[in-house]
């Protein structure tokens, strides 16, 4: 059952991230740095259902054991809703790995390009080229 749920989430995430640029209201290129690709792993602390972008917040454990909270920008909540997301998806505590590009201003913010769930399912593996198709 759990596996089935994860697969559902995986397919939803894949679909939504694949069109992550939809509903974009600002220049990704201006805000995020193609020369700052990042990979993070952590526990979801909050999912914000907002437009023009949704935000996933995760706690990432540092080497000294402290936690850093990262803000991960997704597509618009409306996109997630239309693609079948429910409030029960990606609840607090879910462990995820993400790939993306960090904000140019150096804050703990990233536009995510890929997510891997705890069971190893790869939800999305792409790059900015594919986002516009």
């Amino acid at each position: 059952m759990k596996h089935k749920t994860l697969l559902t989430i995986a397919s939803l995430l894949f679909t939504q991230l694949f069109v992550s640029s939809a509903l974009a209201h600002h220049s990704f290129s201006a805000e995020f740095d193609i020369d700052k690709p990042i990979s993070l792993s952590g526990k979801v602390t909050r999912m914000q259902w907002s437009n023009p972008h949704g935000w996933i917040y995760i706690d990432v454990e540092n080497e000294d054991g402290s936690l850093t909270n990262w803000a991960l920008e997704t597509s618009a909540a409306n996109n997630l809703i239309r693609r079948g997301w429910k409030r029960t998806h990606l609840v607090a505590g879910t462990v995820i790995q993400v790939q993306g590009f960090q904000a140019r201003n150096g804050s703990n913010t990233a536009n995510i390009r890929g997510i891997v769930l705890e069971d190893g399912s790869r939800l999305f593996s792409g790059n900015a080229d594919e986002l516009s198709k």
């Binding site: 640029s21 939809a22 509903l23 974009a24 209201h25 600002h26 220049s27 990704f28 290129s29 201006a30 805000e31 995020f32 193609i34 914000q48 259902w49 907002s50 437009n51 023009p52 972008h53 935000w55 803000a71 920008e73 618009a76 909540a77 409306n78 809703i81 239309r82 429910k86 409030r87 590009f101 904000a103 140019r104 201003n105 804050s107 913010t109 900015a128 080229d129 986002l131 516009s132």
Partner: protein
Amino acid sequence: MKNRCFPGLSLLLACLALLPLTTFAQEIPRTDAGLPLLQGIWQAQTRAAYNLEDHVARTDMQAGTSVVLGGSIPYRNSALARRQNNFENRAELDPLNKCFLPGPTRIMAMPFPFQIFQNDEHVAITFEWTQVYRLIYTAGQEHLYPGFEFWMGDARGQWEGDTLVVEINDLNDRTWLDAAGNYHSLAAHITERYTLVDENTINYQATIDDPEIFSEPWTIEFPLVRQTEMKRLLEYQCQAEAEEANGAFEKVDNLWYPAPVPEGNTPFDSNAANELPLPEVISEINRLEDGTPDISGYFTSDAGGANYGLELRENLALFPPARGVVVDPADGILPYQTWARAEQIERREAWRGYDDPTAHCFVAGIPRSHYVPSPFYILQTPGYVVILHERMSYRVIPLDGREHLPDSIRLWMGDAVGHWDGDTLVVESSNYNGKAWLNELGDVISHAQTVVESYTPVSDTQIIYRATVSDPIVYSRPWTIEMPLNQQAEELLEVACLEDNNDLEHLRDVRDEHRAQMQ
């Protein structure tokens, strides 16, 4: 004293008041189906936007009497402290002071006009305040995405006799009910009642049911008065005005009104568009009863990345590629003047991303509203085509052949006038303010732009959209873009952009860092 002088008048008025409303029912405007016709420009006659209850004047509010039936709001004791805190700290806490969406009942009471459009399936209300609109589904349409909250809620209406009854659900808990801090929770459910009591007056009622905050449901009531002298709404862009005033959105002298326009400019120079063959009709199109094409419905544009560049372009950093939608000139290259091309190239730099108005959540302008990656809804009502953009802006296109606004009145979305040419809706627009960008890449437009657009239905699910833009400040000749608009069975959701716009501060940081390096 009055009664002693005119003893018969009070009696007469009392008798008139007792007459059933149906006595006057024949005098109100009605649709062909016999329903009351609410269409028109209206404004609330009330002080309720300041405070729904009795209140004395303050520096930030006019005095007024209560619009709450029974006089006061039945708060639970446990909920009163928050209202008091809201009131005392309203300058800081009132969401409206941040230009956030006001919620469905508060916006009805605000001192700004609004226009109602009505057909068999919808009632749409477009507000002058910040291009906000409400779309009320009135034909029993299923709500496709229950369970998510919206600032303006989800509204479903039905006619009960001559009263439009609207049930509003899925409200978030971030709006206030007035400027005095009256508030509600996620449990709120609102029932509105719109009753046209005479040609120029709607009696507006709203019952707020929120058992977490109030001990019982309560009702507000005030009149909406037809603005008989007003031919069209203008614009009040709350956040844009605030940011222009505080310097967060900087003026561009050579593009914004009233930058000088080269002599010899011919507005609506659509020769280029006229030389293009009409789009080929693929299959039978939908029509209204009178034979006019029916182009109403939910649409998304097949824009080929036009929001990232109108010309053909491969990847550029994190800019997605663009298919190229310019059909005239034939080479697909925009006929920029030299200085304007240099400006467009500079806008690709990261530090210029902050300058794109849509990054600030301002409206996209024309033609960009058609190809921002966000759906829209086209409504047709007698005399109008109305386009409701999910990204919270709208466009009213009157079909009565009226003249354009005076030259000195300038708008983000321009002033549009339309007419049917065969099966094509042709729209001419002018009176732009020159503040928009044509896309995220930074294609340039000025206040001198005039646009001739055509919406040609080529099947029952597709419209071919063209826009011919003339702008003698920026370009050496007019140019035309073209893209299909595809219809599907969907409903509009809400994009409350400004309210959760985390991106702008990042873009500002990039700009400020660049400026610091340049010094």
